[in-house]
Symmetry: C2
Subunit: 240 residues, 2 copies
């Protein structure tokens, strides 16, 4: 019954549960599907030199000014006051972002990223870079925590679905003795035929679609549109 | 899109997330499928006069002595040292429990029950009393939190599946704007054809089946074997 020769693959459904996991011995994948981590891989795939995740809007403004960088981020799904750009992946075309530094703050994703700072390695995951994430995790042969950013600590559907998609793809390489991972995988398997349809009941879908962002949501649920691996090095997200 | 004329139905997947919910304005259903809440309805259905849930083994022993009551409970899935009985529903046949008081402490369920003390009403739910729980919730027309006891704060499959079963049965009477509720329902719908089979990968299944308790698990996943409603009154669980 034990598969002790394989590393562990676990899913943490909310930052408020992260203390229950052994972060220090694991690679942590930060998951904030709508939309921070989808935007992060998109910006890097389109040539951003690096992305600096910060906790507050104030830091974002200050660091942005010092570095003459793009300041981006949202609070409650909208561009945060004082910042120039939001966290829609469509804002970060190659024309716009290539060769530039981006400073990013979001409601949930950047918070979790800072909480996981003691991990062996932090990377970010989303459907647009799912293959890059899975290839990396399989190659490392280390314990993995798929960390859902959630919504103000409440479990959300989109991050859970992505975690489940990763479990579904790579479970044979890992010991999956984590009910959250099994639950996420079951959710994904039940929904993968039409993720967009499955998302229509999600609270964040309603929040975003109220702002007219359905194209964002479709992009953020589609595999491999920006298939690169963002890794955290010295507090900055760069291509892995 | 709003259904504000209906009360809210939400699912809390772990006690560590309960602070995110408005307990004071809600009925809370305590869910500890394997095995505390399955055993609670079974003991009451078989004639126990009341069940006193306590946090510690010491309290259990002391109150049991004062009241000449049955002391029951487990730690980590086994009968706790110093107690006479475990929390297998099969220990509480009518012959044994009728007319008696039971003092109960468990790893997870009794903890959540005490955390939810400010709720409008606390009841306990499990597959053996799912119909009684659903009928009650529909009749009350109040906000509901389905509170999973989980396993030492980690989300578990069996409590999530039960919460999903309740959502599936009564969602038309409620406003379900809670991703955890939608996730639990999706899980249940994907697994309901054979809950026992679905549970075979669960961490707690392995924990219990190591102790030879598969008959317990089958009973605890079967609807309406002890279809009564335990409600908390003055700190005691009695028939509703």
């Amino acid at each position: 019954m034990t598969e002790s020769n394989k590393p562990r693959l676990e899913v943490c459904l909310s930052p408020a549960l992260l203390h229950l996991y052994d972060v220090k011995s694991s690679i942590v994948v930060i998951i904030d599907v709508l939309r921070a981590t989808s935007t992060i891989c998109t910006a890097l795939a389109n040539g951003a030199t690096k992305i600096i995740p910060v906790a507050t809007v104030e830091e974002c403004v200050n660091i942005g000014r010092q570095l003459e960088a793009i300041t981006a981020g949202e609070r409650d799904g909208k561009i945060a006051e004082g910042l120039k750009h939001g966290n829609s992946p469509f804002e970060y075309s190659r024309d716009f972002i290539e060769g530039k530094v981006m400073v990013l703050t979001t409601t949930n994703g950047t918070k979790l990223l800072h909480m996981a700072k003691d991990a062996v390695q932090i990377v970010t995951g989303s459907f647009p870079n799912i293959s890059a994430v899975c290839d990396y995790l399989v190659a490392q042969k280390q314990n993995v925590i798929l960390g859902c950013a959630a919504w103000k600590d409440r479990v959300n559907l989109e991050d859970t679905l992505f975690a489940g998609a990763v479990v579904s793809r790579i479970r044979e390489h890992f010991d999956v003795s984590c009910d959250s991972a099994i639950a996420a995988e079951t959710m994904y398997e039940a929904s993968k035929g039409d993720l967009f349809e499955a998302m229509k009941n999600a609270t964040h879908f309603k929040r975003l679609s109220n702002f007219g962002l359905e194209a964002d949501i479709r992009y953020c649920l589609t595999a491999d549109g920006a298939n690169v691996l963002p890794v955290l090095r010295n507090g900055e997200l760069v291509l892995g």
